[in-house]
Structure formats: C-alpha cells, structure tokens
Assembly symmetry: C2
Homo-oligomer: 243 residues x 2
C-alpha cells in the first residue's frame, strides 16, 4: 500500500516577534503535527523559542542538534564532512516522515533562503519529497526597523556582508557601498570595527542586538561593547535621493 | 479640549500574497478605520490591490496620487520640487488625522524601510505625530522564493542594485558580487542585460515577474522578453560554501 507523501515546509519565522510571522507561517506552525528545528546541543534554540506557546498539544518535536565543530578549523575538510553527514542525517529523518505521509514544518529564523541552515536540507530533499518554502521577514529588516530609519533611499546600493570575511575585503566593500548590512558578527566584532574605521564610516554605523525581541538594543558602533551576540546586525543607512 | 494623537502606521504588506502579510500587519489592516496608500493617477495601485477584500465596511480610503512627472527629467530641480510638495501635502493630510486622534494605516508594498515611498512620509511625520513601522517580507524575498533556490549561502556577498544606475557602474558591481538582486528594471532592461553580459554572468541570471502573485513568472534572463514590468526583480544566486 502506498500513501501520498507529506510536504516538508521550510517556514520563515521572521526576526523574533510572534506577530511578525506571516499569516501563512502562523497557520502552518499552529497546525503542525511534526515540527523540526536546528539548535546547538543543550540550547533551546532561537527558532523554537520564537514559537513558544503556539504549538499543538500533541506536537512531535524533532530537534536537529548541530555537531560540535569548535575543535575543527573551518578550512579543515573534516569540518565540511562532519556538517555534511549531519545534514544528510537530518534529511533522512524528514524524508522518512514525508514518505510516510506526514507533513513536517521546519522552523527557520528570518527567511529560509537568506543564509541560514534550511537550504542545506532543501537542496537534499528536492526531488525526493515535496518541499515548500514560506518566505519570512529577514533579521536585517527587523534590525533596520529597530533602528528607526530607512536602510535605503532612491538608487542606493545595498551590500550585505558576513563579518567572517577577510579584513581587507571587508574594508574595501564597506568603502564602496551606500548602505550596509553585516551579519555573523559575534567574535568578529573587533575586526569589523577596524574595517569600518579604515573605510571612514565609524560615525554612521549602528549595532542592533535582538531585533524585534523584548531585549532589543540599538547602539552606535562607537558606543558598543566589545562583545556582541552572534546574531547582532550592523547597519549603515543609505543617504540617497530624497525629495 | 485636546485629544491624544493617533498613530500613523507604516505597514509592510510583503511581496503580494495576502497570507504573506505578517500577523501584526493583517490585524492592523483589517481593523483600520483610515487607510492611505500611494498610487499613480488613474491606477488602482499595487498596495491597495493586495488588501482587496480585507478592509472594514466603513473604511475611509486616502489615495495619495503621485504627480505626473514624466515630462520632467530626473536631473531637473523641478522634479524634486514637485515630489517634495506632493509628500508635504500627504504628510499634512495624515498629520491632521493623527492630530484629531485617528490612527492611520499606510499600506506599503514589501518592507516600508527598504526603498519605497513611505520613508518620505516617515521622515516628515517623525517628531510631529507618533509613527510606527511594521516590517514586511521584501519583494526580493518573494522573488528568490519564487525562483526555488536560496539567494545566499555561507559567506556570500549580496549586492542590491537599482537598474536606473549608470551602465559601467552596474557592470563593475555585478562582476564584484557573489549574489545579486536588481530592482527598478522596467525600461532599463536592455541596459541591464548589457551590463550582466559584460560582467560574464548572463547564464546565471533570472528574471522574476509578479513574485508571490497568481501570475508569477520566473524566466532565465537569456529567454526573457525585451520588456518587463517595473516591479520585476533580477536575481543571480550565490554559490557559496555548502557542506
């Protein structure tokens, strides 16, 4: 006997506030019998925290815990091999559920196709079981809304960078853009600060922590502490044409 | 007698589907006594179209119609003066309502602080009456979701450009990024095509029309027609690190 397969939904949750889920995402999350999410071992996980109180009583939760890779440098092939095995394992669990006819909602912070982890499942699940993606409000949109000012005007160029990049490349690109978003900051903050200063843009830079959440905090980079959460976002607002 | 002022809400509607409004935006739009939106004279307007069927029976609609500027070149100071007077007039209308104690919901396609027109009201209303902004799913997120593939992986650099830019600058920037989003295409499509080709990236470029709407269409740039709606979005997907 064959069952028709379930759908794996990659659902964008937005920047952190429950009422910033889309109506479609809200409906999927509240209705889900199976939800899956990534988290670090021993941590509740930010995606799971966003939906606290929204889930069905009989929900089945699938916590996908990242392997501990802190001992392995990013450039070591074993790092990729370790993560690749992890994503293959997650894929197998979700595909088995879908093949048994069950829908699964995978919780994704922000937007599923904008950086993030879901895409590593998406590429492996595509063609195996039905996959659907619900876009979400990005963390960066949460950040610029928190800052109280538009990120781009008129014909501004916007550049989105990861603070994990090489310092010289950061500097060059920061110098060459109107508006800027930098993510994955965390321990890269000192390097990012130097790059922003070298590009002559320190007075215009803002650091947003926990955007759209109760502990939201917006600070001028020059006044920021020397450590910041990994999910902080740095902004430089464009100053383009404005009649 | 003084009344406490109402709030002008700039509400992001997302890319076009009603169930991609956030829960917060949905609640504000359905509850609004006064809604305002921009449109071209004689056109229904895309923002208004998105919320069709969602409004209260007794809603008061404030259509803010752009002045006709097609006769005036963008570089002519009269262009800016004309738009500036228009935004000042809109501001006066909304501020008067708020000062009379009425909340107003301003409908914004995509996200209110990411390009778009609401920011021209926001800057004029701030400090005059209370203003609140609800972020939204951007049109570009609607576009990459429609394309069925992630826009950025790992440490990819994302550049967002307007097709109104100078051709040489477009080419240089397209050559220098991993992932690309281009907006405001319309009549600039031939120029954009040349810039993409000069940067050697024609095979990777996709054109998305009417993302998240029933007439959504995703085409390889090489197969695209020579005309496309102004709100089309061009994408080149990043190909960064993926374990």
């Amino acid at each position: 006997m064959s069952v028709s397969p379930g759908i794996v939904h990659g659902v964008g949750l937005g920047p952190g506030a429950q009422d910033l889920l889309s109506v479609r995402a809200d409906r999927l999350v509240r209705g889900a019998r199976h939800i899956a999410y990534f988290r670090k071992a021993g941590r509740p996980g930010q995606a799971r925290r966003i939906v606290e109180g929204m889930l069905r009583d009989d929900v089945v939760e699938i916590a996908m815990e990242y392997p501990v890779t802190t001992e392995i440098p990013l450039s070591d092939p074993r790092y990729n091999a370790c993560l690749s095995a992890f994503y293959a394992d997650c894929t197998a669990r979700l595909a088995a559920l879908a093949q048994a006819g069950q829908d699964v909602v995978v919780l994704c912070e922000g937007d599923p196709f904008f950086y993030g982890s879901f895409m590593h499942l998406h590429s492996r699940l595509s063609g195996v079981v039905p996959v659907a993606v619900v876009p979400g409000i990005t963390g960066m949109a949460g950040a610029w809304t928190a800052s109280g000012a538009p990120i781009t005007w008129g014909d501004d160029v916007l550049t989105v960078l990861m603070a994990t990049m090489d310092e010289d490349d950061l500097t060059r690109r920061i110098r060459d853009t109107d508006a800027l978003v930098v993510m994955k900051i965390g321990r890269n903050l000192p390097k990012l600060r130097r790059a922003i200063a070298a590009a002559g843009r320190e007075p215009d830079a803002w650091l947003v922590e926990h955007a759209a959440m109760p502990n939201q905090r917006v600070t001028r980079l020059v006044d920021a502490d020397s450590v910041t959460p990994y999910f902080s976002i740095l902004l430089i607002h464009g100053q383009g044409r404005r009649p």
